[in-house]
């Protein structure tokens, strides 16, 4: 039978009496390597994004899309909306990693609430606008697709785009709900810190 803890002092002594955990061998070295790895990966991501934009611009020039107003506008809308979305996401990641943890918990909480409010703002205002602009660009491209692609491939593009949009919307919805619940937990559960 479990002996109940009857006073706070007893609780405190139980807490202090916990089995000591073994300190990982070379743990500090692992941490330093991990930080270096993260920095390296961030650099690689930036290079990949930069190269993607370059490839898209090259493709745009290669197919001489600027000669056809509708195709050019459609491509610009699609690429532009994607670029804005990626930019917003990168900015958020940077902002989160730069949050100063060396401040009091109450100030930190205020900062983190402001961060999540900004995230919700992005999800509820910017994301629908971006999806709408991307879809407009895509619809504008459809006549060119129809003219230059076989009917089977055209149907494939049409159907897959709808499926992708539905799947994407589902994931965005899940992410929004997750971040909203985080915000709710921060603001409701702890009326004060």
């Amino acid at each position: 039978m479990r002996a109940k803890m009857t006073s706070f002092e007893e609780i405190k002594s139980q807490w202090k009496d916990q089995k000591a955990i073994e300190i990982p061998n070379n743990g500090h070295k692992i941490i330093i390597d991990k930080v270096n790895d993260i920095k390296k990966k961030q650099k690689q991501t930036n290079i990949i994004l930069f190269l993607t934009i370059l490839v898209l611009i090259a493709f745009f020039v290669y197919i001489a899309a600027y000669k056809y107003l509708i195709v050019a506008s459609a491509l610009l809308l699609m690429i532009g909306s994607l670029a804005v979305r990626i930019g917003l996401e990168l900015q958020s990641i940077k902002k989160l990693s730069r949050l100063n943890v060396n401040i009091s918990a109450s100030s930190f909480k205020e900062n983190i609430i402001s961060y999540y409010k900004n995230r919700v703002h992005i999800h509820l205002i910017w994301t629908p606008i971006i999806i709408l602009i991307y879809s407009i660009g895509f619809v504008m491209m459809l006549p060119s697709f129809k003219a230059s692609l076989s009917s089977g491939f055209y149907t494939y593009i049409l159907v897959s785009s709808v499926v992708i949009l539905v799947i994407l919307s589902f994931f965005i919805y899940k992410q929004i709900m997750k971040e909203l619940s985080v915000l709710k937990e921060l603001t409701d559960k702890n009326p004060y810190l």
């Binding site: 039978m1 479990r2 002996a3 109940k4 803890m5 009857t6 006073s7 706070f8 609780i11 405190k12 139980q14 807490w15 202090k16 009496d17 916990q18 000591a20 955990i21 300190i23 990982p24 743990g27 500090h28 070295k29 941490i31 330093i32 991990k34 930080v35 943890v101 060396n102 401040i103 009091s104 918990a105 109450s106 100030s107 930190f108 909480k109 983190i112 619940s181 985080v182 937990e185 559960k189 702890n190 004060y192 810190l193």
Partner: protein
Amino acid sequence: MKHLESLFEEVYQSNYQKVYRLCLGYANGDGMLASDLCQEVFIRVWKHLASFRNESAMSTWIYRITVNTCLVYFRKKRTLPLPQLNEPIEDEIEENLYHTKEENLNSLYACIEQLSKGNKSIILLELEGVPQKDIAAIMGINHEAIRVRIHRIKIELTKCAQK
């Protein structure tokens, strides 16, 4: 850089146990989660170590980073099963003692889990024996208010642990 690395090694060695225990409290006694959180804390300690200015004690500084790191840590609720009170008694005294300790700790984690994040931070620091003045500085709440809150949480926690 070498000096910073050896300072970090020292900080890591002398604070790992404390940080781990605190993380374990946030993680409802889940060792794997506590290790992940602990790693996250030390990543931040390493990133900010060069900017540490001795304005507070190193341990207070690390506790502050731990509390803030755990504050942004959200996970699916996982409840440790509360110990069954009528389980068979072990034959060996030592083993029995070990089980009792484990059960008490699990029940304590479950009680801590029921607190709000702010109260959780405060009581975990109190359990670690951090002076109330330092808890006030870590939390950004005035000393008197912390004293009153600690008193309230102690009563709440003791009541829960008695169940």
